[in-house]
């Protein structure tokens, strides 16, 4: 057991737990956050993606000891139903979902990318999203939404 401090969406939480615990389980079970999800547990699909210091990481394979004290942003930290982030709003406007389980990974991966390069080309967006899976294959709408959000973020 170790003392671990997680700064999630601007709030500080202190834990005394197994330091090898994957970050995802702390977010989902201890903090009861619903954004990051267990998809594969292997870092292959992206459903568990969160931002650590602005970088997209796979929380299912990230032991909490490696993010002790770091600023972590989850999907909940981007925006709210009342005030959605431009990416979230673009997904709503484009109706870019079917089951919605993968959305966390899609949106968080897009966020990390668009923060650096909002005016990306379609090819660059596709490249950035090449490690994320959506098995309902809502790809057409999702990529449209990401492009639209980038244009909004660049303004």
């Amino acid at each position: 057991m170790s003392a671990i401090t997680l700064k999630v969406n601007g709030q500080t939480h202190k834990f005394d737990m197994d330091p090898t615990t994957p970050l995802l389980y702390v977010l989902a079970d201890d903090l009861e956050l619903r954004g990051a999800k267990f998809g594969c547990g292997l870092g292959q699909c992206g459903a568990c993606t969160v931002l650590v210091k602005g970088r997209a990481i796979r929380s299912c394979i990230t032991p909490i000891e490696t993010v002790d004290g770091a600023e972590i942003t989850t999907l909940e930290g981007l925006g709210t139903i009342e005030k959605p982030h431009p990416i979230q709003k673009a997904f709503i406007d484009e109706g870019a979902a079917q089951c919605g389980f993968c959305l966390n990974g899609i949106i968080m991966t897009a966020k990390a990318f668009l923060d650096k390069k909002p005016k990306a080309s379609e090819e660059e967006i596709q490249q950035a999203m090449s490690g994320v899976l959506c098995r309902c294959f809502t790809h057409v709408r999702m990529l449209r939404a990401i492009k639209k959000a980038g244009q909004e973020m660049a303004r």
Binding site: N9, R34, Q44, E76, I81, Q98, G131, R135
Partner: protein, 794 residues
């Protein structure tokens, strides 16, 4: 520690009760029946907060779970509150396919209430009628034609008009219903609201099969795009999937599956996990093994460390020779779908006979989130949150697994990861139930990626032989189709939990394989998962029930026993059969140097199927000519176009696709550049939802056609993660997808979720042929197979 967002979660649960409301209901012992005995207003209150207070104020208490609300009772479907708000109950659940929004549109339309008044509650055995399983493109036909939810709403509107007539003293035909208010056509100031007429009271009426449905020409809500109400919650991380269900005192369970197919437990060494932190219990029931711990990470570690001795596996057929193995497997169960008894004779007389064999692998549902369920089994009662497609089926089989009475088991649907058929949803529900029962506390189980993929009920592998006879003019005069496909298990239904892995491990048997050779002659026509090609006349008992012109016809299917679990995967067997039929039709057209579109139309007798073919060709700017097109170079990129069509299950939706592809002849890589999909699902309830299904179905079909295949060694499945079971990621080169929607207001509603995916593999395969002259007869079209086919052309 609580999420700061927690108090906003009711928004997420708009189409159904929030978890908190469900839990409160449970604590209060409420059942569907007591809702109806009390007031509609009460029900509506749940969805907008204040839940606990409302329940207490009612003071009603009725223990136990009743049977399904009767499907012929209006109160089973519709409740209207004092404020006019409508609660509708349905047995067709939201899997991500968009059926809830369409059902809410339907209720608003038929009842003449604002869309915002409708709260839809779906799939909870304490409240909603049993409509079987949400599957097979059946929700649209089941609830949007003259029965069930649609007819309930129509019955309610007509009843309200009669009540208003009495109340206002004006004949019903001089009244109009709009926005939940009934007023005199001559004097709109003479009016009464739905709430005033029936608010909080039961209807106590049967569904009226003669209640008038609105004509699509009158529609103001149906037939138009409506935004999905769950989207804001989904994109902000507020939506409650079954994976997010949290119950006070909940523990975490993990299961330990056998290391090989057919392996059974010899011994379990519980001491191997003794002393590990948080471990509550090791659970063993016959061959079912699980571990329960306080935290998820503890359960995972314990499951990994638990020492179990297993027998060797039963052994598996060679993957490399599997199709030949399956073709020669005995015994078989044979089924004749059509048989004109003259096929061999006509083939003998034909000017030309063409033969081809097609292969389709086992494929998996491969849900992006591994399956999850939460069960709370206390004594002789159980409450289970499950992503099952059939809550009443799940109630019956969970009761068997637990040894409880069905009426003491409540199944509450919570959305899982998109399933596309029977993924791990049912099996993980049994896992959670067994582990919860063993510890007497609520337990959450989410499968590992490997356990999800290695043990799910795969979509069927197929070997398909096609033979056709052509006359001197190139017309098809005889067609013979014969297929082999393995089966093991299925959906569990009401009473066969052994149809999925957990049920078998816990001691239940799958439905038995029943050999039957030879097949009896068909006595009634069935298209049977498109086992009958669209071009056959489908003559059984004198009537022509097919969609084609070929009267010398035979369609014979053989099922054999499978080593792997099988079950419905989006467009089950329809997709595989259609791949063979539509590829073969292309081969026939090429043999007689006919244009593939014209050749299809020449052999179709069904106008709705012909119409989608024509519509797709028109939008795609189809260039009429035979395939393949003259090849300029045998290296570099070649382009081509292909067409395929289907009458889904013979009459439940029609689609045709034109695909344009680039074939890299050096690497064998296929790039699909453009897809046009014409679709006819009858009257369109929600065009945006339909487009979303077509876009998703098309790309999922591409992934299945180009990449997906279950693999195994001599003991176990080896495709058990996203590196070993490949799928198209979000970043692949996506084709332009153009949906052409044929709206047919005057016919019955048909299926819409599986029409597009069914034709993808054949359309792409035909386009590859058009580009290169190479015919690929085996899915998936990997670069290696494309290269091999190119080499065959020489």
């Amino acid at each position: 520690m609580r999420s700061p967002m927690r108090n906003k979660r009711e928004v997420a649960g708009k189409p159904t009760l929030s978890l908190d409301a469900q839990a409160a209901l449970e604590r209060a012992g409420f059942s569907r029946r007591s809702f109806l005995k009390s007031t509609g207003a009460l029900i509506v209150t749940f969805s907008i907060g204040g839940m606990l207070e409302t329940v207490k104020a009612q003071g009603a208490f009725e223990g136990g779970v009743a049977g399904s609300p009767p499907l012929n009772e209006l109160d089973s479907w519709i409740a209207i509150a004092g404020d006019g708000k409508v609660t509708a109950y349905t047995g067709k659940c939201e899997l991500g396919q968009g059926i809830t929004i369409a059902q809410a549109q339907l209720v608003a339309e038929e009842l003449s209430v604002p869309f915002s008044y409708v709260n839809l509650i779906y799939c909870d055995t304490a409240m909603t009628p049993d409509q079987g399983v949400t599957s097979g493109s059946q929700s649209h036909p089941t609830n949007f034609n003259h029965g069930n939810l649609a007819q309930a709403a129509a019955t309610a509107r007509e009843t309200l008009l009669q009540l208003a007539s009495k109340s206002l003293g004006i004949p019903a035909d001089q009244l109009a219903a709009e926005d939940g208010v009934i007023s005199a056509k001559s004097d709109p100031s003479m009016k009464v609201t739905y709430g005033q007429l029936v608010g909080g009271k039961k209807f106590d009426l049967k569904l009226d099969p003669n209640a008038n449905r609105k004509s699509p020409s009158e529609w103001t809500v149906l037939g138009k795009p409506a935004p999905r109400p769950d989207l804001p919650a989904l994109v902000t991380g507020q939506f409650e999937f079954v994976h997010n269900v949290r119950v006070p005192g909940m523990l975490h369970g993990m299961v330990v599956r056998p290391p090989a197919v057919g392996a059974t437990v010899v011994s379990v060494d519980e001491s191997s996990v003794a002393g590990l932190p948080g471990v509550v219990k090791v659970v063993v029931k016959k061959n079912f093994i699980g571990v329960v711990a306080e935290k998820r990470w503890q359960a995972i570690q314990a499951a990994n460390k638990l020492k179990v001795t297993w027998t060797p596996g039963a052994g598996l057929p060679s993957h490399a020779d599997f199709y030949d193995f399956m073709r020669n497997q005995k015994p078989t169960r044979d089924t004749l779908l059509v048989n004109s008894n003259d096929v061999d004779q006509k083939l003998g007389e034909a000017a030309t006979v063409v033969k081809a064999t097609y292969h389709h692998p086992y494929q998996m549902h491969g849900s992006i989130g591994s399956s999850c369920a939460v069960a709370d089994v206390q004594g002789d009662k159980a409450t289970i949150w499950s992503p099952t497609q059939g809550v009443w089926h799940q109630r019956g089989t969970s009761a068997m697994i637990l040894g409880l009475k069905p009426e003491n088991v409540r199944i509450i649907f919570r959305r899982g990861s998109g399933c596309y058929g029977i993924n791990g949803a049912d099996t993980v529900t049994y896992d959670a139930a067994l582990l919860s029962q063993a510890v007497g506390k609520p337990v959450r189980v989410q499968l590992t990626r490997k356990d999800e993929m290695a043990w799910e009920n795969y979509g069927f592998a197929f070997v398909m032989d096609e033979r056709a006879g052509l006359d001197a003019q190139g017309n098809i005069v005889a067609w013979d189709h014969e297929s082999w496909s393995p089966v093991l298990g299925n959906r569990p239904g009401y009473g066969t939990p052994g149809n999925v892995i957990t049920g078998l491990l816990a001691g239940f048997q799958p439905e038995p394989f029943r050999p039957r050779t030879p097949a009896p002659e068909p006595t009634a026509y069935t298209n049977n998962s498109n086992g009958v090609p669209s071009y056959m006349a489908g003559q059984v008992g004198g009537a022509l029930k097919g969609t084609g012109t070929v009267k010398s016809e035979r369609a014979l299917m053989h099922n054999v026993a499978s080593s792997f679990w099988t079950g419905p995967l989006r467009s089950p067997a329809r997709l595989q059969n259609t791949f063979a039929h539509e590829s073969f039709m292309d081969e026939l057209a090429a043999r007689v140097k006919a244009d593939p579109v014209e050749y299809r139309l020449r052999h179709l007798s069904h106008s709705r199927l012909s119409d989608v073919v024509k519509a797709a060709a028109k939008t795609a700017n189809w260039d009429p000519r035979p395939s393949p097109k003259p090849l300029k170079s045998k290296t570099g990129v070649a382009t081509g176009r292909g067409v395929a069509c289907v009458a889904y299950e013979g009459d439940n939706g029609f689609s045709a696709m034109v695909a344009e592809v680039e074939v890299n002849q050096d690497t064998g890589n296929i790039s699909v550049k453009r897809v046009v999909l014409a679709n006819d699902s009858g009257p369109i309830s929600n065009p945006d939802g339909l487009r979303n299904q077509i876009e998703g179905g098309t790309l999922q079909g591409m992934s299945r056609a180009l990449m997906e295949e279950v693999t195994w060694d001599d003991q176990k499945v080896t495709s058990n993660d996203w590196r070993t079971y490949r799928t198209l990621p979000l970043g692949f080169d996506i084709p332009k997808v153009e949906a052409v929607l044929l709206n047919r207001p005057d016919v019955a509603a048909c299926g819409a979720g599986e029409t597009a995916i069914t034709v993808v593999a054949a359309a792409i395969g035909n386009a590859i042929f058009d580009a290169t002259g190479a015919r690929i007869r085996q899915v998936p079209f990997t670069p290696e197979r494309v290269k091999a086919a190119l080499n065959e052309v020489g």
